[in-house]
């Protein structure tokens, strides 16, 4: 008889699989990279300079040897493009770390997915389309979305995306056109190429999809949680 006991796959892994499959269909390639990186790659090349309050938005863990636990998967933007020439369509899933007090909705260990595309004549309307395409796959065709301006140092114009969830508008991801300076830092000629980028918190998306209220349970290995999926 086939093995009756089948293991369960972590719900966030299942989510990453869906995201990578969905975006894979339109030519996006998933790439992973190191969780411990340099201050330069995590901040400086993304236009988050040391003496600027934009550094305060993400509290950072430092290692004794002067490296940084990446605060966002955007830290991979420059390394990914080091050995690639545009056009490029990339997904970067991975763990990130924030030096924050933990509670039901805040964790120090998080899982993010970064998505970016660089091509000729990519515009914000392409970004809007790509985000809606992904959100419909994850939440159903009838999901309502709203777009507002927001500032992130590595994109310009920048944008926040909200979905209507149980009657309320929830901000679920940040996005924008890759800043020309960041494109240059990637070795990409910003006069010739443009790009968009967006990032989402996979834990948060999983919690919405599965009706989980406390993020800490996801990392607790409590089998009464893991076996439910």
């Amino acid at each position: 008889m086939p093995n009756v006991v089948k293991g369960h796959i972590h719900p966030t892994t299942q989510l990453i699989a869906r995201i990578c499959d969905c975006l894979g269909k339109i030519g996006f390639e998933a790439v992973t990279g190191p969780e411990v990186t340099s201050e330069k790659l995590n901040f400086d090349v993304l236009r988050i300079p040391k003496d600027h309050p934009s550094r305060d938005v993400q509290d950072t863990f430092w290692t004794k040897d002067g490296r940084v636990l990446r605060t966002h998967t955007s830290a991979m933007q420059i390394p990914v493009m080091e050995n690639r020439k545009p056009p490029a369509r990339i997904i970067i899933p991975g763990r990130v770390y924030r030096n924050e007090a933990t509670d039901a909705t805040h964790e120090a260990t998080l899982y993010q997915v970064e998505v970016f595309a660089i091509d000729k004549n990519i515009t914000m309307t392409n970004l809007v389309w790509t985000i809606q395409y992904l959100l419909k796959e994850l939440f159903g065709d009838s999901i309502e979305t709203k777009f507002y301006p927001h500032h992130y140092p590595f994109v310009e114009p920048g944008m926040d995306v909200l979905i209507k969830w149980k009657g309320k508008w929830l901000e679920v991801l940040g996005s924008g056109m890759i800043h020309p300076q960041v494109l240059e830092n990637m070795g990409v000629n910003s006069g010739e190429w443009s790009g968009f980028a967006f990032g989402l918190g996979a834990d948060r998306f999983m919690m919405l999809q599965r009706a989980l209220g406390d993020i800490r349970i996801s990392y607790s290995s409590d089998l009464r949680f893991n076996y439910q999926f």
Binding site: N3, G7, S54, T63
Partner: protein, 612 residues
């Protein structure tokens, strides 16, 4: 930032007040809270110019088609350009961009009701009319002001402190200073933490008769360094860090002087030292840039009006207004300005050009996950940090561990060099399950090497037979270091290898839509059931139908399935059922009743017979 609504209305008279909240969202300032009296908005680090009532009003008016000016009713003039009181040390030359001030003879009183009420709304206590008006005008205009008692000091010399200097602030706290903190000296005494907070020794009190009101522009990075090194954050330091409008000082000193005159004070002197005049920032931009970046065409008349209302001049090149010089430097910034007025809702989705599909399972090791789950191992996610105790139990040389300088707690001092020990903890912390096989894929850290590994652990060594990780597992007993660290009750078997060393075929992971059912705080009851069913019945379908039907079932886990000639062509399936109540501990009797319900259901739905 809190914006009292009646204060805002002073600057936004011509607009529809009902739309203000939506306008703010549409401009990029999310409203975090709204009450009858105020709106609380998020101001991002690039927009120091909106850290004021006037700044927010300017944005809202532009969204509604109006341009605004600050304090237009006051004619700015009559400032001298030399000072007998204020000087700047040579080595502090690049830290002070402008310094304007007035000197007045005063008598200190209580503030009027309006000022007291508005200060309270923004979270400040009223102290006296001099200190209060500096806070009031700062919150209104965005220009930090500071009041010195001119009978307590003779000069204001801006320079850097020396390592080991002290300052006692207005609130009585004493801070240690260092050579990167900007201060004001009166001869050798330190009388102000420049741009951050005033000192006790020069502060205005009820007996003050002569004041100097300072409106200065400091270099943002310098003030940020002071704020960080003294761990002091004030409304003034927050504004300076983000960059204050170079043109504000004389405007705000003018308004302050008018108010003082209304109060019957004599203005002795007004000085404006334009130490580092700012060159205009011009940007090459054309209306067609909107379409190439945003993807929608906006008429050039709309582009120009939007920019003009926001304070940009559009004569050939785009000239950036003085309050946006810290934020606007390329044509992409200008495009965002146009879109903020026009509205991001005008962005119509445009499909990406088609590209060949890519199969992505390698990046998240889908083949390995499929192989492990097929062999009965459940995937867990654990934290990446270890404590000293755990590192000791693991026995790794601490010199090769990656140590965090600022961990959230001492429990999280190191990065894991291995997926052990946390995966062993996972077994120990699930005593309610006696046969457990788990795996984890994650990164581990030794010195400056980071490797992706897969680790598997099981209560039975046999679980590894025929699985993808077919290595001889390591036995970890309850008396081992790790066993004692986590109080393991029985032996477990463990394997860990680099992910690169194995390959697995891959059909893609199938995700389900299972919703999380809350785990009760109260003890659950666990019952194993074995029933006979026809061979074509899928045990997983049975399990799922039990969970879907009965809210009190937390889990229904299949754990056995076999055929036997004794069963007359049927097969036996066994499931572990966990029954719980969210609000109480179940009695054995209650659990039995619930179990009977389940068995009745299985009997009617699947013709299942309880095995005796």
């Amino acid at each position: 930032m809190i914006i009292p609504k009646d204060w805002l209305r002073e600057f936004t008279k011509d607009i529809n007040q009902d739309n203000v909240v939506e306008d703010l969202f549409g401009l990029g300032f999310p409203v975090e809270e709204e009450s009858q009296e105020y709106i609380d908005i998020e101001v991002t680090p690039n927009r120091g110019d909106v850290f004021s009532i006037h700044g927010a009003a300017r944005e809202i008016n532009a969204k509604n088609g109006y341009a605004t000016g600050l304090y237009q009713e006051y004619e700015v003039g009559g400032f001298k350009n030399k000072s007998d009181i204020v000087s700047i040390d040579e080595n502090a030359g690049s830290a002070v961009l402008r310094y304007a001030y007035l000197v007045a003879e005063v008598d200190v009183r209580a503030s009027d009701e309006l000022v007291c009420r508005r200060l309270k709304q923004i979270g400040l206590n009223a102290k006296n009319n001099i200190i209060d008006i500096t806070n009031y005008l700062m919150h209104e205009s965005g220009q930090p002001l500071h009041a010195f008692d001119l009978d307590k000091i003779n000069q204001i010399r801006i320079g850097f402190a020396e390592d080991g200097n002290n300052i006692t602030l207005i609130n009585g706290d004493t801070l240690k200073l260092s050579s990167n903190t900007l201060v004001a000296y009166d001869n050798e005494r330190i009388v102000d933490l420049a741009g951050v907070c005033g000192a006790e020794n020069s502060s205005v009190d009820n007996n003050t008769k002569k004041v100097l009101i300072q409106a200065a522009i400091f270099d943002p990075a310098t003030i940020r360094r002071t704020s960080k090194s003294t761990t002091t954050i004030t409304p003034a330091s927050m504004r300076y860090e983000r960059g204050v409008d170079y043109n504000l000082p004389p405007q705000v000193i003018t308004k302050c002087a008018k108010l003082f005159e209304q109060w019957g004070y004599r203005i002795i002197d007004k000085v404006d030292l334009k130490l580092m005049p700012q060159e205009a920032i011009d940007i090459n931009f054309d209306s067609s840039d909107v379409e190439s970046i945003a993807g929608i065409a906006v008429d050039s008349s709309v582009v120009n009006k939007s920019l003009n209302d926001l304070g940009f001049s559009t004569d050939g090149v785009i000239t950036v207004p003085s309050w946006r010089r810290y934020d606007i430097n390329c044509k992409q910034d200008v495009v965002e300005e146009v879109l903020r007025i026009v509205g991001y809702d005008k962005l119509i989705p445009a499909e990406l050009t088609p590209a060949p599909a890519i199969k992505n399972s390698q990046a998240f090791h889908s083949g390995i996950i499929q192989a492990m789950t097929a062999a009965g191992f459940t995937e867990v996610w654990n934290y990446s940090f270890l404590s000293d105790k755990e590192a000791d139990a693991l026995g790794t040389d601490k010199n090769s561990l990656v140590e965090i300088t600022n961990p959230i707690s001492s429990e999280n001092k190191y990065l894991r060099p291995s997926l052990l020990p946390k995966i062993a903890k996972a077994i120990a912390s699930n005593p309610g399950f006696d046969k457990v096989s788990l795996f984890e894929i994650g990164n581990v850290f030794i010195d400056n090497m980071e490797t992706t590994k897969v680790a598997a652990i099981s209560t039975s060594a046999k679980s590894f037979n025929g699985s993808l990780i077919n290595h001889k597992p390591l036995l970890i007993g309850p008396d081992s270091e790790i066993g004692r660290c986590y109080k393991l009750r029985k032996s477990v078997y463990f394997v860990e290898i680099a992910i690169d060393s194995i390959q697995a075929d891959d059909d893609g992971i199938v995700a389900n839509n299972n919703q999380y059912r809350e785990i009760s705080k109260y003890p659950a009851v666990v019952r194993d059931i074995s029933v006979l069913v026809r061979p074509e019945v899928d045990v997983r379908t049975v399990a799922k139908s039990i969970v879907n039907r009965y809210q009190f079932v937390l889990l229904a886990e299949p754990f056995d399935e076999f055929e036997s000639t004794k069963f007359n062509g049927n097969k036996s399936i066994s499931l572990k059922i966990i029954i719980q109540d969210l609000n109480s501990t179940l009695s054995a009797g209650q659990a039995d009743t619930m179990l009977d319900q389940i068995l009745d259901y299985l009997s009617s739905e699947y013709d299942a017979k309880l095995r005796t």
